[in-house]
Symmetry: C2
């Protein structure tokens, strides 16, 4: 497997399947782990950083779960390749910065990805399509246990797993669910939802996680703290809240369809018409319009496209993906043309 192979592959989480996939794009479990006997990455000297990278890589390579995997050394990648991996949600935007001694291991289905030397020595991530949070947790747990057979994690009987940032200390777990909530946005309920979520000890973020904007009505709900509860409790809690959000979004969609069907249908078809015709389009407008069409597919208004096509376009129209497809660097303006060309081609739009 090579990095280039990913370009025309559909990531597992883009399949648009799984429970509640009309609203839940994906569920992700991430475990933060550090190796005993080493400083945290940001405190470590170069030699120690290299030691962490080699030790972690060795332990991951031998895992039965990572037999068909690809190891990527961050420093050997181009800027575009790194951005490409962020766009595919295989690593965090932070992992791009200061690439020296940083690595990424991904399995061939792009379900498992392990960042080495991000903030913590290991960040084990499992990403599943739809509301498969428990499945993702079990898988992540097994991989973690398997790796722990070959390394010793930094662990305190009082605090649990020790991590660079205290918010991760304890279980080291972050469960995140990516939701598509256009009806809650349209009806101005999303503000209240934000408030309620934060009172419950969860956070809601944009498309690329922490610090990113919510574009296209996509929201990522995650736990804020990893301490004081068991993994199962944390997952149960977030699962319960997501369940409520899904029900709320569903009932709001029904109300909108009962009361404002024509306006909804018009809005959705106009989005489709624009994507099929535009010659220049920004990434932000693309995500906004694709989001509208996704709703149209979910509501059986648009039958000409399926959810996989739309999910794929979300990823392929992003800057690094466009540039990798073209095989060269493009200015933002050039990307806006290429993006429009790609969308028209995929949606069989105006020539």
């Amino acid at each position: 497997m090579k990095l280039e192979d990913l370009l025309y592959k559909k990531s597992e989480w883009l399949r648009g399947t799984g429970p509640k996939s009309n609203i839940v794009i994906s569920a992700r479990i991430r475990l933060a782990r550090n190796l005993n006997g080493f400083s945290f990455f940001n405190w470590a000297k170069p030699k120690e950083k290299e030691g962490i990278l080699n030790t972690a890589k060795g332990a991951i390579d031998k895992s039965k779960f990572m037999k068909k995997s690809l190891f990527l050394s961050m420093k050997d990648l181009t800027e575009i390749d790194r951005q490409f991996l962020v766009e595919r949600h295989l690593m965090s935007p932070e992992h791009v910065i200061d690439p020296e001694y940083k690595g990424l291991v991904i399995d061939d289905k792009e379900i498992v990805s392990i960042m080495v030397n991000e903030e913590d020595h290991l960040r084990i991530q499992v990403l599943q399509s739809g509301f498969n949070i428990i499945e993702a947790w079990h898988m992540c747990d097994e991989i973690d246990t398997d790796i722990s057979n070959r390394v010793t994690y930094a662990f305190s009987s009082k605090w649990g797993y020790l991590t660079a940032c205290p918010t991760n200390t304890g279980t080291g777990l972050r469960a995140s669910v990516m939701l598509h909530l256009p009806a809650l946005v349209m009806t101005n309920q999303i503000g209240k939802v934000f408030q309620a979520i934060s009172k419950l000890g969860l956070t809601m973020r944009g498309f690329y996680g922490e610090g990113t904007e919510a574009i296209g009505n996509f929201f990522q709900v995650s736990n804020q703290l990893a301490l004081g509860h068991s993994e199962n409790d944390l997952i149960d809690k977030i699962g319960g809240i997501v369940d409520k959000l899904v029900k709320r979004e569903e009932s709001t969609r029904s109300i909108l369809m009962a009361k404002n069907k024509e306006e909804m249908v018009d809005k959705i078809w106009r989005a489709y018409g624009t994507l099929k015709s535009a010659r220049i389009i920004t990434s932000a407008e693309t995500i906004k319009l694709l989001s509208t069409i996704r709703l149209g597919v979910d509501l059986d208004i648009v039958g000409n496209v399926d959810k996989i096509q739309i999910n794929e376009l979300f990823i392929l129209t992003q800057p690094a993906h466009l540039q990798k497809m073209e095989g060269k660097l493009l200015t933002p303006n050039q990307r806006d043309y290429k993006r429009a060309d790609l969308i028209r081609e995929r949606l069989k739009g105006e020539k």
Copy 2:
């Protein structure tokens, strides 16, 4: 010929042919005439009004130019039918008000229309596609001469033809040219053009003439006064100015295409995509988008549609036309759906 026959007929002025038809939609000549021995219409008593109507009708009916014509008594028409005739530019919006004793005669090609008892006893109008102002003038002149063989016009050797409103006194002539000036609008030159036009003793108005708004970048240029110059001089003057406007619009289009081609192409295709997809659309948005596509056809950007289709849509999507096609009254909301349906059907858009 019946009124209903007009609905699916293409008016002469919509053919999109004639000189400079890329910019000049139509040229119109209108002559205001009053019958000697009768009061002006608005001063006349009912009995006298009836006398004017009958005298005028008799003189028009016998004209060799109006052999295949249709006489319509305003009071016998429905509100929708009257609006329908205004939308087709066969009569003025004012002719709808107080329909008693008002009439309209139109020839079968919709080139000639004669309003009886609008502001003046006779308003003889010839409407041609493209920049055929001289042709329209000759035709109108011949019809006028022909009618004058059977009636005596109110005429003063000092003032010329006498009319209800002094702005028409003299020749009784109004020459109007309908122009499509999207490039001058886009480049914010239209304000200056307005000023220059008015200094030259001409006026610039919207799509339906006096007192109407300029929508879709359509502007009607007419002479302000009918006195003090011969008909030929008036027509020469307006012809010369329109010629300059056409050249200015053409050169601005060339500059835009040289400097902003991609943005133009994008804007034009987006307009096309929206019209092919929308489920609800107002008349104002329709005219705006059709105007953009018309520019696209003129610039050879859009090849899928022709100018006749677009010209036809301009007329068919208007309220009275939609209601006549449906054969019943529609609320504004219902019209917005029907309009979108009709456009998608005509442009072979999304089902």
